[in-house]
């Protein structure tokens, strides 16, 4: 999965929730990614974050830091 796509999608989600107060925006955007993204997409986001998270909006960056990747060994 391309990093560009992951970054664009994370930014889009952050953009929607940024209309809300900061704490709600962070919680809402994070929960959205947990609810709808396959673990490997979250892992991709985490990996991109580990590389510095270039291109992520400030809120998307905060979201990336907040979410926990629920790895599933049997899916790996």
């Amino acid at each position: 999965m391309s990093t560009n796509d992951i970054v664009r999608m994370a930014n889009q989600i952050a953009e929607f929730f940024s209309a809300y107060p900061e704490d709600e925006a962070l919680a809402g955007a994070s929960q959205h990614i947990v609810d709808f993204w396959d673990p490997r997409m979250r892992a991709e986001l985490e990996a991109h974050l580990a590389q510095g998270g270039a291109g992520l909006s400030p809120l998307a960056l905060a979201v990336a830091k907040r979410i926990t990747v629920h790895t599933q060994p049997e899916l790996a």
């Binding site: 391309s2 959205h32 396959d38 490997r40 599933q72 899916l75």
Partner: protein, 950 residues
């Protein structure tokens, strides 16, 4: 006419709480006030002879066959046009009436060819029946006078329409066809021209035949005709059918009920069912006539396999094909992990077929990589309505539109996409309701006979949310909010936040007008019209959802409905017009990777435990991949096998070259379908599917109506789709077994609260049910959120307008938007294999005259359309329906490559592709695009089938 007829009561029912009691031939009868004598007589089995009357049409009173005597009334009034009165004493049959009727009948027959034995309507002719009923034994005037049937004078039979013929010499000028076109279909294509003896039915102008006229081939006139004047060619060719099976159309999300009329197991015609809740006896050209694909020579009825997608196909036994799939899928999982395979369910398949595919993926594949074609159409509807209202479904039944005062139609073209519902909508509009059309194109409903939109908002593609915010701003700042409704039904904290947001100056129509491309006063006027309506109803289509802000837009509409109090009763609501016949059902059945059946998130431990207990497996608690994610993961090598049920992602999904590359990168692609479609070109296994005429199950339409789909013939492949899937699951190691599809529905009901009361037996008894069907709604729920929202309090969402990243620029100055046309359906796999292609043999590019002139393009020129991801060549159609700067095409023909141009951009919440906004350049060209040129070669290579060795 329909041979296997319902009782025809002669005039429509008149629902009324007040009743009237009268005597008919001495028999007491009590009927609703306003009922005709003719209908009341039929109620007590005293049918009155009739020719111009049918209960599908308003009474006309022209044929003079239905005369009756009424005590105390002079003369013999027509029973069809005379309403009942309290205490009336009616006589339907005596010597006087018999004499009058015979006399009238003689006049009809004196100008009718007496060729009953060789007539196509023999045995199915109301004129013939009525002659028998009135006891006609002679025609005193003879047959030698002036007439319309002698060879020297008769008009030729009009056979221009591919599905029915018009034989003027058999016409009795009853006007039923004209009235059906007016009242039922609302096209007003037919007229009775001339006077007296010269009267004749005409389709359009003098030079028109049926094909060239404005007739949309809905079949209403054919159904209404009491003689052989308008007759299905299939009946002319094969004779009248002898039995019927009630089933459900497999085209759009309206989900019309039909009687398949047959001889043996051969379908002779499809007749819309009067008792069908969705269509109430009406149909469109697709459902009524375009069913021939089911027996088309291109059908593949034997499983096929091949090692590589570039090898020729090899026919195989079911066992071999299923073993092949299981071996490959298990091998992929062993090498790349359980999550390396997945599948897609189909909105063209039944609920039961869809359910077993998602079950196979979750239970046998051991992951949640299941998605459905709703991903590319109405997934934002699911997200948006669930967030605001609490459930993922439209709020109304179709009939509700009859109570609407203002219809807000956004991003939908129902006269083409949902024609039977459009007819219902047009009836309401002709009776005085207003319509506001929000669409970049001037669709038919902006101005069509007897209908003119109160407002047309020709917005720039991609600015839906801005338009809705401008509407909301107007409503809030001008004091048009239904404060009482909001206070009682909605979360006030969320409402106040929303009110504050939309009140901001940046959401004022004046601030947004330039972005939207529509003047502020039009935006304000449209908003006021909607807010002022006693009943305001929102209907929408893919012009709403297929945007980067598709989900935001759905929430905008939900906000608007709540703010104006337009939820929870007839005539209002937020209503998605679903694209395919079972989009609603495929979503209900747990086809999304994050949800189990009934829209319950996979992370919910209680729900998982329920399914785990029933299925006997452990389920993963994480969402799986969506279709675009699967394709992306295929490109990086982590997703390598897919089971595609009845969908053609290589034609329907955006950025075709990316889709093709992803499919080509997989180790095992399985396609279950009727034909070798574009996706099958990349497949390793082809499993023959079943047409709707072979299926046994249920479809759920856009109004949540669960309808039975009944088989009218055996499966041509010898195996049902659900059984095929069960065999694949078993080969993968998971025991999945059912003896009958009703057992699948029983399992769905057992595990899904909104389906708790649904069963085949119940559907067979009640005809249809609209979910939820459970203890709270034992007979279903035609209208949702009546006393409260499913989520409790309605939730207003803040909907900031975020322009799409896809923008026109100097390289790609035009915006392409895509859609569908009346005669074709989706990727055209079905309709292209019928005579419907006579109306639409190719996809064309609609372009505004100014844009065409700038480029030196004249109508019919081949033009190249280029976007940043691809190019294709189509013929241009110059049309001022388009706004300048916007071009439009359809995607019904694979060679068109419409989706070679569309991009990877998608809705922020759901990944629904942004089909409706692609920046393009258009130039004259006389060459196919590289992709088109390559396709022929590609097809030749990938569709080869080897014959088995002797």
């Amino acid at each position: 006419m329909a041979l296997i007829d319902d009782v025809d009561f002669g005039t429509p029912a008149r629902p009324s709480a007040a009743t009237v009691t009268l005597l008919i031939d001495g028999a007491p009868v009590t009927v609703p006030e306003g009922t005709s004598i003719m209908r009341a007589a039929q109620e007590v089995s005293r049918p009155i002879p009739k020719l111009c009357a049918t209960d599908k049409l308003e009474p006309f009173g022209s044929c003079r066959m239905c005369l009756v005597e009424i005590e105390g009334v002079r003369g013999t009034p027509a029973s069809c046009t005379t309403p009942v009165r309290e205490g009336m004493n009616v006589t339907t049959q005596n010597a006087r009436l018999e004499r009058i009727r015979k006399g009238v009948m003689e006049l009809y027959i004196s100008d009718h060819p007496l060729d009953c034995l060789t007539c196509a309507a023999n045995g199915d002719c109301e004129l013939q029946d009525t002659a028998g009923e009135v006891g006609l034994r002679e025609v005193r005037y003879g047959m030698d006078g002036a007439n319309h049937f002698d060879a020297q004078v008769k008009d030729p039979i009009d056979v221009s329409n591919p599905y029915f013929q018009f034989e003027p010499s058999k016409c009795i000028a009853c006007s039923r066809c004209v009235r059906a076109c007016d009242e039922v279909q609302g096209t007003l294509a037919l007229t009775l021209e001339g006077r007296g003896f010269a009267s004749k039915i005409s389709a359009g102008l003098e030079m028109d035949d049926f094909f060239s006229s404005e007739c949309v081939s809905c079949g209403a006139c054919v159904q209404a005709c009491p003689t052989a004047t308008l007759m299905e060619k299939s009946v002319v060719d094969h004779g009248v059918p002898t039995r019927s099976v009630e089933t459900t159309c497999a085209y759009c999300g309206v989900g019309c009920s039909f009687k398949a009329e047959l001889k043996g197991s051969e379908v002779v015609r499809m007749v819309p069912s009067k008792s069908g809740g969705a269509n109430e006896g009406h149909s469109c050209v697709k459902g009524r006539f375009a069913w021939g694909y089911a027996s088309h020579k291109d059908r593949i009825t034997t499983p096929m396999v091949r090692e590589s997608a570039t090898d020729p196909w090899r026919k195989a036994s079911w066992d071999e094909a299923i073993d092949f799939i299981a071996t490959r899928f298990k091998d992929i999982q062993a090498r790349h992990g359980k999550g390396a395979i997945g599948g897609i369910t189909s909105s063209r398949c039944t609920n039961e077929e869809v359910y077993v595919v998602q079950k196979m993926i979750r239970a046998a594949f051991g992951n949640n990589n299941v998605d459905t074609c709703a991903r590319v159409c109405h997934s934002p509807t699911g997200y948006g309505l669930k967030t605001t209202f609490g459930t993922s479904a439209g709020t109304q039944n179709f009939k509700s539109v009859e109570q609407a005062d203002v219809i807000l139609l956004i991003g939908a073209n129902p006269t083409d996409g949902h024609p039977v519902f459009a007819s219902r909508m047009k009836r309401r509009l002709r009776r005085g309701a207003k319509i506001i059309v929000v669409d970049p194109r001037r669709i038919d409903l902006v101005r069509t006979p007897h209908i003119e939109a109160a407002h047309h908002v020709p917005l720039r593609p991609g600015t839906n949310v801005a338009v809705m915010n401008a509407f909301a701003h107007t409503i809030v700042t001008e004091g048009l909010v239904d404060e009482a409704f909001v206070a009682q039904r909605c979360d006030m904290v969320e409402f106040e936040r929303w009110r504050s947001f939309v009140s901001e100056p940046e959401n004022a129509p004046e601030a947004l007008a330039e972005k939207v491309g529509v003047d502020a006063e039009t935006l304000r006027a449209a908003a006021r019209t909607f807010a002022a309506a006693p009943n305001g109803a929102i209907y929408y289509g893919l012009g709403v959802t297929e945007h980067s802000q598709g989900s935001t837009m759905v929430m905008c509409m939900a906000n608007l409905a709540m703010a104006t109090g337009n939820i929870g009763r007839e005539g209002v609501g937020v209503n998605p017009l679903r694209g395919q016949n079972n989009v609603q059902g495929s979503c209900d059945m747990g086809s999304f990777p994050h949800e189990l059946p009934g829209y319950r998130h996979i992370s919910d431990a209680d729900t998982r435990a329920l399914f785990e207990g029933d299925w006997g497996v452990h389920l993963h608690d994480q969402p799986g991949l969506r279709i675009p994610n699967m394709l992306d993961a295929a490109m990086d090598g982590s997703f390598r096998g897919i089971f595609v049920q009845g969908e053609d992602i290589a034609q329907s999904d955006p950025n075709t070259k990316h889709v093709q590359a992803a499919l080509a990168a997989m180790d095992c692609v399985v396609v279950q379908d009727l034909f070798l479609n574009e996706t099958a070109a990349h497949a390793h296994v082809f499993l023959p599917g079943t047409s709707f005429l072979e299926k046994d199950g249920t479809f759920t339409n856009a109004e949540r109506r669960i309808n039975r789909v009944r088989p009218v013939m055996a499966e041509k492949s010898g195996l049902s789709e659900w059984e095929t899937v069960c065999r694949v699951a078993r080969a993968m190691g998971y025991p999945m077994h059912y003896d009958h599809p009703s057992q699948i529905m029983d399992e769905i009901a057992r595990l899904t609260p909104s389906f708790a009361g649904v069963s085949f037996a119940r559907l067979d008894r009640d005809g249809s049910l609209q979910w939820p069907v459970n203890d709270a709604h034992p007979d279903g729920a035609p209208i949702m959120h009546v006393d409260g929202f499913v989520r409790g309090k309605g939730r207003f969402m803040i909907t900031r307008y975020v322009p799409t990243e896809e923008r026109s620029n100097r390289h790609f100055p035009l915006i392409l938007t895509t859609g569908r046309i009346l005669s074709q359906y989706n990727v055209g796999q079905q309709t292209r294999r019928t005579a419907n292609s006579l109306w639409h043999p190719e996809d064309v590019l609609e372009i505004h005259p100014h844009d065409a002139e700038e480029r030196g393009i004249v109508d019919g020129d081949p033009v190249s359309i280029n976007s940043r991801v691809g190019a294709t060549t189509l013929h241009a159609r110059i049309s001022d329906r388009m706004a300048p700067g916007v071009v439009y095409t359809t995607f019904h023909h694979p060679l068109s490559g419409a989706n070679v141009i569309t991009t990877e951009f998608s809705d922020w919440a759901t990944n629904c592709p942004e089909y409706k906004v692609t920046a393009v350049q258009v130039n004259k060209s006389n060459l196919p695009s590289d992709w088109q040129a390559h396709r022929e070669e590609f097809v030749a290579e990938h569709y080869r089938v080897t014959e088995p060795a002797e």
